[in-house]
């Protein structure tokens, strides 16, 4: 059975068996799930406070929704996230802060104000990103998108073997990051469910995730309320939590280490249950038959 890999984020080190909750904090007016709920900076700050209280291990701050829509240039993206990252860093000196961006210009700006992780959701389209992560000692999340253009939907994409394609792309990106000077324990790989993938692809990646967790790099999965969950169960956005948590449990069993989510406490509970079954975490309280 494959296991995780050593992982370092910010000043923290995690065991290969750790299962971390990364809470999504959108500084967007139009993301598919929260639809602008945390667009205002104070609302976003409230969200950070809430997810920290709920046990999130890190936050992932993003200024651009993944789906197509209004063009957001680097200046506007920086306006949305840089000041906010600084504010979160100030309020939570020890919190691991990730920023969801594919632009090295934005990555540099957020690292300068204290971001610990660059979550490149679009598969390395900006070749300068690893250099920025290396320069600031930040972690880098590498993703598989099949090479699609940022903010485009997959349309009639096929792979001979989607997991093999993801594996090759992710290993190549991860090794390039290390080559650029990013610490090996700070390179994370993410198969990127639904990015450059139809539902059949995302289901296959979930089913065969052990082929990625066995590669020796920590694996992040971003499953939360996504279309592949919705299509598997025929549920619209807003009714996908149960399915998300089931997929979360499967990925946890396969050894994924970071879970990018909207719902923190529910995810925490599922991950803890899997960790106890795997023997990675002792049960919380055991008296049954033991009195």
């Amino acid at each position: 059975m494959s296991r995780g890999a050593p992982l370092r984020l910010g000043r923290r080190e995690y065991a290969p068996t750790a299962r971390l909750v990364m809470a999504i904090v959108n500084r967007t007016p139009d993301s598919f799930y929260d639809k602008g709920l945390t667009w205002g900076e104070d609302a976003a700050m409230d969200r950070v406070r809430q997810v920290v209280d709920e046990g999130a291990d890190l936050v992932d701050i993003g200024g651009i929704k993944a789906a197509p829509g209004a063009v957001i240039d680097a200046d506007e993206e920086k306006r949305r996230v840089v000041g906010f990252v600084a504010r979160v860093r100030d309020a939570y000196p020890d919190l691991v802060i990730s920023v969801d961006t594919w632009r090295s210009e934005v990555a540099r700006a957020v690292c300068e104000v204290g971001a610990d992780v660059i979550n490149d959701a679009w598969g390395g389209v900006d070749a300068g990103l690893p250099d920025v992560a290396a320069e600031f000692g930040a972690a880098l999340v590498c993703t598989h998108t099949g090479g699609v253009t940022p903010r485009t939907r997959p349309h009639r994409i096929e792979y001979d073997d989607v997991v093999a394609d993801a594996r090759d792309s992710l290993v190549r990106q991860a090794e390039r990051a290390v080559g650029a000077g990013v610490e090996r324990e700070r390179v994370v790989i993410d198969p990127a469910h639904d990015f450059g993938k139809n539902t059949w692809h995302s289901l296959e990646v979930t089913r065969r995730l052990d082929e990625l967790t066995g590669l020796g790099w920590p694996v992040l999965v971003s499953l939360s309320n996504k279309d592949f969950v919705g299509e598997a169960l025929d549920r619209p956005v807003g009714e996908r939590l149960t399915g998300t948590l089931a997929a979360t449990a499967l990925c946890a069993w396969h050894g994924a280490q970071i879970y990018r989510v909207h719902e923190v406490p529910q995810t925490r509970e599922v991950l803890d249950l899997v960790s106890t079954v795997r023997g990675d975490l002792p049960p919380a309280r055991t008296v049954r038959g033991l009195g």
Partner: protein, 207 residues
Amino acid sequence: MSGSVVVVPSAPLLLPEYTGRQDVGADLRDRAVEAIRAATDTDGSDRAVLVVATDREQRGTRPPLGQRVGRHLCELAGVGVDGVVAVSWDATVDECRAVGEHLGRRPAATLVVVADGSARRGEKAPGHLDDRAAALDDEIVAALRTADPERLLALDPGLCADLLAHGRAPLQVAAAAMAGRGEPRCTELEVSDPLGVLYVVARLAVG
């Protein structure tokens, strides 16, 4: 060439391997199969030639999606496939014309053209909304309705590529094959876009 031309969609969801518990493409598939059957009946044949585009996002080694969809639809219609003309999705008009004219010089055959309009017809469309999509699709539909080969051959490859109108090249091949061969006329034409992509089921009788 005096055989009919049938236009059918190339949506992967028409294939068994992409169909879930709910068969989302059932009606569309039925209409396409019926059109192929009607065309071959008219032509007094049970054979057809497929005209398809290569995949725009080619990553694997499988035959083009359009070819697989066309073959599947023909199979369901009980129609044998005598040949496949796979034209590059971004072929120039001259290239399409040359392939089509070559095809037109061969003995009559029913052509099954696997071709869609724009995939940018709405905010939820695969390519998101592009305001130009409706006009382009209207032009494609009008060209088919009037069975006008020159109008199909006048479609701009660059605009069609921008608007993810994947059927442009196969339509132009078929148009060149039809041109100069009697008076083509449209005998059936249905359009739909339930997923933000223009699907066309059409029959053109030639000669």
